[in-house]
Every structure is written in structure tokens, then in C-alpha cells.
């Protein structure tokens, strides 16, 4: 099976940014070829996963307010299948790291991530979560959550606009649609040294 372009309803593939890395990811996955039947099952599974990532209710600072805003009336993330935010990490598929992660919070975030059931995804929201943001020179701020947990999508902004939130969620959906459940994984956590 060749590369399939992940489709998002009513938005063209070309309109998304960073298609190259998606294509690279897909090429790596398909390097060994794939069974047609397994591939079809995979497609169904990925369709299900991509359309129903429930987020963890997690916010540390400003971005959290915008996160609430996309759940509310004007932006309404439920339209895209992000129906509920689950307060329990066991039932969440996605963690939107909204806000600064400090040294004291870092072990807690890691623990939350570990508590989540597979498959789990991470979106680093806002400058702080992406790379420390305005607090790079602080003594108590983690310079990007990717130092602690693997990140799937980076979303810059301080705080990002709700539209950007939705865009990052769609990018995540596209990424999920290129995964494999049967026969090969494409997302491994780095082994701790």
C-alpha cells in the first residue's frame, strides 16, 4: 500500500502546513509494505481514534482559559469529536499541555502521562510548553515539555488563538490517521538511560 493522504473534512490536504514530516512518517511506516486486510482494519481503527480523542482536563495557566473557550459556545470542539474532556487521566486519550510547566509540576505531568492508557497523544500548547516561552531565563521553568514527555504536535502562541487550537487538533488527527495498530508501531517512547 502506498502513502495515503490523511483527509480532514472540507479542508484541503495542501492547505495544511508541515506535510513533509507527515509524508516522511508515512514512508517509514510503509517501508516494509503492509498487508491489505490489516491495512484496511488499521484504517478503520485509525478513523475511530482520530475522530474521538478525548482530552484530559489539564491546564496550568493562561492557555487553559483559551482551552475552556474552545469547549464553549463559539468554538465548540465537540464538533470535531473532541466531545468531552475527562478529568481522569485513565480515560483520556490526549493531553493538551496548556501552560508553563515548572520544575515542581514536571514530575506530576510525567506521572499523569504515565497514568494515561495507550494510545495517548500530547499536544504542547503555547510558547511555554513548546520551549519555555517568555520564561526561558527562569530558574524554575522546564524549557519545553518535550524534555519530559514525547510531544506529537507543537502549537506556538501566547496563548494560541482558539482557531489555532482547532488547527493543532486537526494536525493531530492527521497524524493519528497515519498510525498502525497492527503490524508495526511508529511511536515509541525513548528508553530511559
Amino acid at each position: 500500500m502506498g502513502l495515503k493522504k490523511p483527509k480532514i473534512k472540507s479542508i484541503k490536504y495542501e492547505e495544511f502546513q508541515d506535510n513533509e514530516s507527515l509524508e516522511k512518517m508515512a514512508a517509514e511506516l510503509n517501508a516494509n509494505g503492509a498487508n491489505v486486510i490489516l491495512g484496511a482494519v488499521d484504517d478503520v481503527i485509525n478513523w475511530g481514534r482520530a475522530n474521538s480523542p478525548w482530552s484530559l482536563t489539564f491546564a496550568t495557566s493562561c492557555c487553559g482559559i483559551e482551552f475552556m473557550a474552545i469547549g464553549a459556545a463559539r468554538y465548540d470542539m465537540a464538533r470535531f469529536g473532541f466531545e468531552v474532556t475527562r478529568p481522569s487521566p485513565r480515560q483520556a486519550d490526549l493531553i493538551m499541555v496548556c501552560g508553563t510547566i515548572t520544575h515542581r509540576m514536571a514530575p506530576v505531568l510525567k506521572r499523569l502521562y504515565d497514568q494515561m492508557a495507550e494510545p495517548k497523544y500530547v499536544v504542547a500548547v503555547g510558547g511555554c510548553a513548546v520551549g519555555g516561552g517568555p520564561f526561558t531565563k527562569s530558574y524554575h521553568v522546564v524549557q519545553g515539555v518535550d524534555k519530559i514527555i514525547p510531544v506529537d504536535v507543537y502549537l506556538p502562541g501566547c496563548p494560541p488563538r482558539p482557531e489555532a487550537f482547532l488547527y493543532s487538533m486537526m494536525q493531530l488527527q492527521r497524524k493519528i490517521k497515519l498510525q498502525k495498530f497492527l503490524g508495526g508501531v511508529n511511536r515509541k517512547e525513548k528508553k530511559q538511560k
Binding site: 495557566s61 520544575h103 514530575p107 524554575h140 521553568v141
Partner: protein, 539 residues
């Protein structure tokens, strides 16, 4: 009454510094007696500790106290210090003012000053195993790499007391017994409004004791400010309490302008006032939404957010930002208001007046809401003053603490508005204060919006701002209380020490008192009505 004379009578060795705000420098040995006298004497009655700031003077470590009397309205600034940098010890005032409890822990955390007679000398923001004290000038920034081990919470704490011979000894206090049923609410919990952590001791559903743990979003903004120029420091104020972004920045701008003696054009004052009030409405709508959500009603939450978006649209038109606007600058505002600004504000206000009735219909009038909020979480007026819970919480307890009335700034002395004061002190009063304040804010905006004078929106400032030596304090009424900024300047282009009076820290300090005897559900409702913003507490 001459305060100076009074202070000299009690503590004759006191010196006065008259750069910026007048400051009384009191030797540490006589400080506690002076503070006690000033608080308890009828004619001084300094019952409100506005701010407690730790300082590193280079050769000595000290604390600066901003006192205020709620009865007479007079203020004074005291400073005390110790030259012992290895083992600094000062006397605690937490038995005089309850708010000093958390503030002294903060000073211990940042400067390592230990307070004698403080019952609970633990770090407040940083982890127990943190090396060194970050706010000291000689702190090595790289001395604490990221520590990913899980935190171990100690149930023991130390207290320094003085024994019969006058020596300082250490005593051990217990926070929670082994047999207590202690649950962790937070740091990751849907209704702690961020990453606050309460360790809650329960008896069935009833709360016996709450121990708040802060610092999960402590970013060290105050320390970072010491290496930033004045215009740069402005950028971080918006991120303190992001729901009072305008007001926080207003405070810092006002402080620098006051220190420099810059006259601000009237147009700027109008714009700042309107923006502050819009921000207040925005914040109070969010308060309403979050309270409703905490109490299990999701529909009012979305209603609130629907209307909040309209204010954000107005902000966005002019400032380009939704949450963090970076609008005020030293000497004015960043850009002139959008040509449509006046129109959209005037359209919004009547709309919102109507919609506010809907809010009351769906939430305020509900029987269950009355049951959940009335008589729950009562905070007495004395406690409110002692804890320094300014803002809506204080006003719900009958303490008229509105900074806009007490120390008018910008246009507030020229507009007509009522200070909302309730006397019940319960959750419902705290809720109603904020709902009524929105009406008052709209009244203020309506008085100003048609009369914005023509003129410059900014005073041209020098490219490098140097604030003259001295210490300065300014405060504004932010959405959730008195937000103060304290600046110690050495005449440099960087502040020597910049401290923000957090509006939320007193609220968190008061949680234990307010919730005692309540249920878990009450804790959530009380947390909702206290309306704290965690990044503002932790800074």
C-alpha cells in the same frame, strides 16, 4: 497624629528614609514590639498588612512591611533586616496578621530568612530539597537542575521558638497525623482552577483541615524582572493574573510613571479606565462560568463564555490580543483605540445588561444554588482584614476595601459608582458582589465612553528608563482584589527588586479557615467563589 513621632516613641533607634515612599528602618530587636503596638493601639490600629516583601540588600537580608489601617486609612512602611546571611532569623508577625503566615513562608523560601515563632517554617513555592534561596543576589541559577523524582510530602514541620534562657530552639509540629484520612485535591484536579494542591483531612465528607501547597506554577517572574529593563518587565505582568491583564500592567505603568513624575494625558487615563472595567467584566463573567461549572451546571458555563467572547472581540480590535494584550506602556498605551471601539462598547453594554438577567434566571434564582451557597464558607470581617483578602471576598464580608475608592487613580475619582459591600461573608455574598460589580463597571464605562478627550495616546519616553533611587508602592483594584507593585530602585535601568502583591495568596491562606467544618462539595463551591487565579499566587 504624627506617625513618625509615634514610631520614634516606641522604637527610638528607628531611622527614616525619604527616597520615594517614606520608609521606617527598624532594628530587628525592637521590630516585633513596634508592630504589635502599631496594630493594637487605638489611634494607629494598623490592622491590615498590605504587603510583606523580602529583600536582599547585599550586605543584609530584610523584610519590608506595608501596613494600612482600615479605620483611618493611613499607611506606613516598615523595614527590618539582619546582617547574618548564614543563618538569618527575624521575628514573625503571623500572630498579629494572619496573612503574614504565608508571606513569611514565601520570604523563607526565597531568601532563607527564618521567622521565630512562626508555627510552620516550610518552603511555600519550591520543593523541600531545593538548594539555596533563589532571590538572593548571590544565587547560582544553575544550581538546581530539573528533578524528576516524585515529591515526598512531609507531615512534619519545624518551628523556631525561644526558650526560657533566650536561645532559639527548633520544635517539631505535626501537620497531619498518621491516622487521618488525607486526600490530595490537586495539583491536577478539574476545579482547583489550575495547579493548586490542597491536602485535605477528611472525616467522612467533612473537612477537618486543609493544607494548601503552592508553587506548581511558580515561574520566578519577580526574579526574572531583576534582569530586565523597565519596559521589558511590563511583558510579564499580563501573565500573572491573566484575567486582570490590563489592571496588572496598569499598576506597574502607574508605579514607574509615579516614580519618574510623568504626567499622563487625560485620553490615556480614560482609555485605561475603560479597559480596566471591561477586563473586570470579562473576569467576572469567567468567574460566573467557572463557579457554575464547579457546581455541576455546564449550561451557564457556556452562556458565560458566549458573552465573554464579545468583550474579547472588543479587546482584539484595539490591542490585537485576546487574553494577553500588552496594551499599557510606560507613559500611555501601545496604540490608539480602534475607530470602532466606542461603537462596539456601546453596543455591548445594553446587550449585556439584558443577558445578565438571563444569568440570574438560570443560576442565581435556582433553589439548589441558594442551598449550596448561602451560609456556606463564612469569612468574618476581622478574618478578612487579618488575612488581607481584598477584592470581592473582602467586600462580601463587609470590608469596604475597594482600591478605586480608597486610593483613587486614573479616572475613578471623577466617575460615579457604588462600592458593592455585602455583610454576610458567605459564598452567596461573594457571588453576588461580583455579579453586582459588573453592573457598576458598566455604569463607569457608560460615563466615560462618550467623553474620551482628543489628544495623544502616549507620552514620548526616553529610550532607556531609569527610575530614581528609592522604594515605591502602587496598587490598583484588579478583578480579584488589590494588586500592588513594590519597587526598590537603585537608580539603574533594571529594578533592584520588584514585588507584586498577589491578590490570590491571601485567599488561599484563608481557605483553611473558611472551609473548616464544610463538606468536600463546599470546598469546591468556596474555591469557585473565592475566585483565585493560580499563576497570580505563585508568580
Amino acid at each position: 497624629m504624627d506617625l513618625k513621632k509615634r514610631i520614634l516613641e516606641i522604637a527610638p533607634e528607628t531611622q527614616f528614609v525619604e527616597q520615594g515612599d517614606i520608609k521606617a528602618i527598624v532594628p530587628s530587636s525592637s521590630f516585633y514590639a513596634l508592630a504589635k503596638k502599631l496594630k493594637e493601639d487605638e489611634d494607629t490600629s494598623f490592622d491590615f498588612l498590605l504587603s510583606l516583601t523580602g529583600m536582599d540588600f547585599g550586605d543584609s537580608l530584610g523584610v519590608i512591611y506595608h501596613l494600612e489601617s482600615t479605620k483611618y486609612g493611613h499607611t506606613c512602611v516598615l523595614q527590618t533586616s539582619t546582617t547574618n546571611r548564614e543563618n538569618p532569623e527575624l521575628y514573625s508577625v503571623c500572630d498579629l496578621w494572619k496573612t503574614a503566615n504565608f508571606n513569611e513562608r514565601e520570604v523563607y523560601d526565597f531568601f532563607g530568612i527564618r521567622f521565630i515563632n512562626h508555627p510552620d517554617m516550610r518552603r511555600l513555592f519550591l520543593r523541600d530539597e531545593w538548594n539555596g534561596y533563589p532571590f538572593r543576589k548571590d544565587y547560582d541559577m544553575d544550581s538546581n537542575p530539573l528533578n524528576m523524582t516524585n515529591e515526598v510530602t512531609e507531615d512534619k514541620t519545624t518551628e523556631l521558638t525561644i526558650d526560657a534562657e533566650g536561645n532559639v530552639i527548633e520544635k517539631e509540629n505535626t501537620l497531619f497525623d498518621d491516622k487521618e484520612y488525607v486526600i490530595n485535591i490537586g495539583p491536577q484536579h478539574p476545579s482547583t482552577h489550575g495547579v493548586l494542591r490542597f491536602r485535605t483531612s477528611l472525616q467522612g465528607e467533612i473537612i477537618k483541615k486543609i493544607e494548601p501547597y503552592c508553587g506548581y506554577i511558580h515561574r520566578g517572574i519577580e526574579k526574572m524582572n531583576e534582569n530586565l529593563t523597565y519596559p521589558q518587565t511590563l511583558a510579564l505582568t499580563d501573565r500573572l493574573d491573566y484575567l486582570s491583564a490590563h489592571q496588572n500592567r496598569h499598576a506597574l505603568c502607574m508605579l514607574i510613571e509615579k516614580a519618574l513624575g510623568v504626567e499622563i494625558p487625560e485620553r490615556v487615563q480614560y482609555i485605561r479606565t475603560i479597559m480596566d472595567e471591561l477586563q473586570r467584566i470579562d473576569s467576572h463573567i469567567l468567574f460566573y462560568s467557572c463557579l457554575a461549572m464547579d457546581m455541576g451546571a455546564i449550561t451557564p458555563f457556556t452562556y458565560g463564555f458566549r458573552d465573554r467572547e464579545m468583550i474579547l472581540d472588543i479587546f482584539e480590535q484595539t490591542t490585537g490580543g485576546r487574553l494577553i494584550q500588552n496594551y499599557n506602556v510606560v507613559g500611555g498605551v501601545q496604540a490608539d483605540i480602534h475607530p470602532d471601539f466606542v461603537n462596539s462598547v456601546k453596543k455591548f453594554i445594553p446587550y449585556f445588561r439584558n443577558i445578565l438577567k438571563e444569568y440570574h434566571d438560570i443560576f442565581t434564582g435556582n433553589v439548589i444554588v441558594h442551598q449550596r451557597l448561602k451560609g456556606v464558607g463564612v469569612l468574618s470581617k476581622e478574618d478578612a482584614i487579618s488575612f488581607g483578602t481584598t477584592g470581592g471576598t473582602g467586600r462580601a464580608s463587609g470590608w469596604a476595601c475597594d482600591t478605586r475608592k480608597r486610593k483613587p487613580y486614573a479616572m475613578y475619582d471623577k466617575v460615579d459608582f457604588k462600592e458593592i459591600v455585602y455583610t454576610e461573608g458567605d459564598s452567596f455574598a461573594r457571588y453576588m458582589v461580583r455579579m453586582d460589580e459588573m453592573l457598576e463597571s458598566m455604569k463607569i464605562i457608560e460615563q466615560l465612553i462618550d467623553n474620551i478627550p482628543e489628544g495623544a495616546y502616549q507620552v514620548k519616553m526616553k529610550p532607556i528608563i531609569k527610575v530614581p533611587e528609592g522604594s515605591y508602592f502602587t496598587s490598583v483594584e484588579s478583578s480579584r482584589g488589590e494588586f500592588g507593585v513594590f519597587l526598590e530602585s537603585k537608580g539603574d535601568k533594571y529594578p533592584y527588586r520588584l514585588k507584586y502583591r498577589s491578590t490570590g495568596l491571601p485567599l488561599v491562606a484563608a481557605v483553611d479557615t473558611i472551609t473548616k467544618g464544610g463538606k468536600i462539595a463546599d470546598l469546591i463551591a468556596i474555591g469557585g467563589t473565592l475566585d483565585y487565579v493560580i499563576p497570580d499566587i505563585d508568580r
